[in-house]
């Protein structure tokens, strides 16, 4: 799953994207949402959600329930 796809799925649920930038390592994207969730998306397709709204984002992206790298 790439960053554009994640943004589309999360924002469709009314959770606004508030920040999008390349991560410090330069190997992926860091996405922030109005709910407080942060999603780290690796260029290799790995996805990790954290922060206050992480559980909802995890459900929207069909990630494993406990936020972790996939």
């Amino acid at each position: 799953m790439d960053a554009d796809r994640i943004v589309a799925l999360v924002t469709a649920a009314g959770i606004e994207l508030t920040d999008r930038r390349r991560n410090a390592k330069g190997d992926g994207w860091s996405l922030s949402f109005a709910s407080g969730a942060t999603v780290e998306v690796g260029d290799d397709g790995s996805v990790r959600a954290s922060g206050k709204g992480a559980r909802t984002v995890t459900r929207l992206l069909d990630l494993p329930t406990a936020p972790r790298s996939i």
Binding site: A12, E16, T18, S32, A34, G36
Partner: protein, 514 residues
Amino acid sequence: MKRTLWLALFSSTLALCAAAAAFAAQPGDPPDGISKIETVVVIFAENRAFDNLYGHFPGAEGIDKASQESLQQRDRDGSVLSELPPVWDGLTAKGVTPPVTQAMTEHLPNAPFTVNDAKGFNVALSVTTHDLWHRYYQNQMQINGGKNDMFVAWADSGAMPMSNWDASKTDMWAVAQKYVLDDHFFMGGFGGSFFNHQWLICACAPYYANADKSPAKPSISVTDDSGTALKIADNSPKSAGDGIPKFVSDGNLTPDFYAVNTMQPPYQPSGNDPAAGGDPLLADPAKPTTLPPQTEPTIGDMLSLKHVSWAWYSGAWQYTLDHGNHTPIPNFQYHHQPFNYYANYAPGTEARREHLRDGGVGGASFIQAIDDGALPQVSFYKPQGNLNEHSGYADIQAGDHHIADVIAHLEKSPQWPHMLVVVTYDENGGIWDHVAPPKADRWGPGTRIPAIIVSPFAKHGYVDHTPYDTTSILRFITERFELPVLRGIVVRDRAVAANGEPPLGDLTGGLDLN
């Protein structure tokens, strides 16, 4: 002697006339009888354009009165679209059964469509649907100088901006029929909830000083030469039918550092956690989405200055502080709490304790204050997330029932005989409306939204065509309580006049105060 007496009498009469003239109503003065309103209540719902809910309201300027040109959407190159693009990823929210999929929305005619049309998608008002971009620059690009013909072109949701609902069976439709519906009420600022909540309390754009040297630097938008539109990226799809547009930088800040899209409050409750080891009452200031505390005067400051009692009641405020947020209920929205961005209402201040009040889960504490006749002179009420009608995470019916229930309590309140209630929406939620907003300043007004005036002084069954915007609420409060005028209102009024537009009203067009 006689002549002298007549001269003296004449002079006295002239002086009396002059004095009377000095006290006579002047243009811009508050209307006679405004002091009969002793309690003001503002209910701020979420994300509906006027045509989206009230496009077929009898006597209002609705979709039926729209020109053919304003009904047709254009592609990004200015050509008329042969059909609407599909709703990307489908019209209904994830988990809704049965879903309305993307495939089911293909080949819609280039025209508005009714979501709950029994002969169409037949989606009920109780169903949550796909959210849409509702952002500062996109809103201006969609309005396209008043033609309103680029809502689809600059959306992230395909055909979704052209959706509307038959809301004639809703509870609030009945309230509008009983009292006053404003059919020329526009959102105060372009774009989204964050910005329009700021306009409700401050008529101002929040500012991020030295943003180019801050963690928020990458969030500075890149605009084209007009300064009112985003610069389009080279890899952006050329046609709305090919996909969602891409921009060089679609951030939260203008190039001169005003915050126009969603930033998080600097104080808890905030989407951003406290800094590790930092003050637990604050949001981490190093996060790129934490807005520094704001200092521009607000309507709250003006009310306090004149010793007028007031409060911002927020649904599920205390619940969220005590238990954290939960979805789908209450789904508290951090950026819908505008006073939580201001240093004057920082944690620990007396002003915060006095004015930022818990509305309770489901608005229970606010309703209790209504029933007890304990509302302050001015109340703002923000319903919690699942009751605010926002696309994507809330449906229309739940919020409609809730707000109508609040109205029913207000009508029975001991304070009702001298009350004015304004029910409106913060912004259009990215949804099309056919009426051109008044031309004013760089910040707005944006798209037309519904507003309903409820009061024993409201004209009954009346549609008020007076032009208003969100700052009209501030105009009314300012006039009624004789407050100093916020700078943003002065700027807005001058800009409206400079553009040859009729002045924005103070909400009294729908009242009979005599």
